[in-house]
Symmetry: C2
Subunit: 137 residues, 2 copies
């Protein structure tokens, strides 16, 4: 379906349920989801969703992932309070990646940094960009 949909002009409407079911999940039934702070553009984290967690996220407006390590639903912020409120859910051209525009409460990373991407490769070393807990305000 994506080969057909990708040619559609702007403002074309596609049935939502058909679209979600046509997404390309991997052998474990999962699809990667990038979370981006909607206003600043900061890329916060990447995690995985399944069909049910996508549906729940769209229904509730609170982002719900699938935890591969715990093999269960991961309602972001349920224990930490660092919730992600959904602003928009987008999918890419071939339907194998999601982009979640969110409003992140507090830090997105489990180290309490604001985002998870704090290792930066440079000419001869990798540098840690910021401190544990630096996302707590």
């Amino acid at each position: 379906m994506f080969k057909q949909w990708e040619r559609a002009p702007a403002q074309t409407q596609i049935d939502k349920q058909a679209f979600i079911e046509a997404l390309k999940f991997n052998a474990d039934g999962l699809i990667p989801a990038i979370a981006q702070q909607h206003d600043s553009g900061e890329v916060l984290m990447m995690a995985w969703m399944n069909l049910a967690s996508i549906s729940e996220t769209l229904a509730t407006g609170q982002v719900c992932y699938w935890s591969r390590s715990r093999q269960t639903y991961w309602r972001k912020g349920e224990s930490s309070g660092h919730r992600q409120q959904l602003v928009a859910l987008r999918a890419d051209c071939d339907g194998d990646t999601l982009l979640l525009l969110v409003d992140q409460q507090g830090p997105a990373c489990h180290t309490n940094r604001r985002n998870c991407f704090f290792f930066e490769a440079q000419a001869d070393a990798v540098t840690v960009l910021n401190d544990v807990d630096s996302g707590l305000v």
Copy 2:
């Protein structure tokens, strides 16, 4: 190693080769890489890299992915001219996702839209956000 590295304070330096080899590649030897336009913050696409394509990207400053469909190196823009110049390569807290800050020449998407995330799920439908070729200027 990442459980140890994630506690390190800002400005800590880690050996680059050891870091890259400690990244968590999947069963196919691949790791997802998000490409973001370095100045605007626009998320352009997501693709996959292996150890050799990461090393090549760092050495040349031109982004090289691994194409899962073609099972070969994919030097972004080699045929289209729509290259990605690397500005910074980052990894996340647990070393299983990369974030590439890039300078994208022209459109990133094969449909010649500027980015690949042009399907947006809304209340009762999915909307196409922009037209084929809209990223050509």
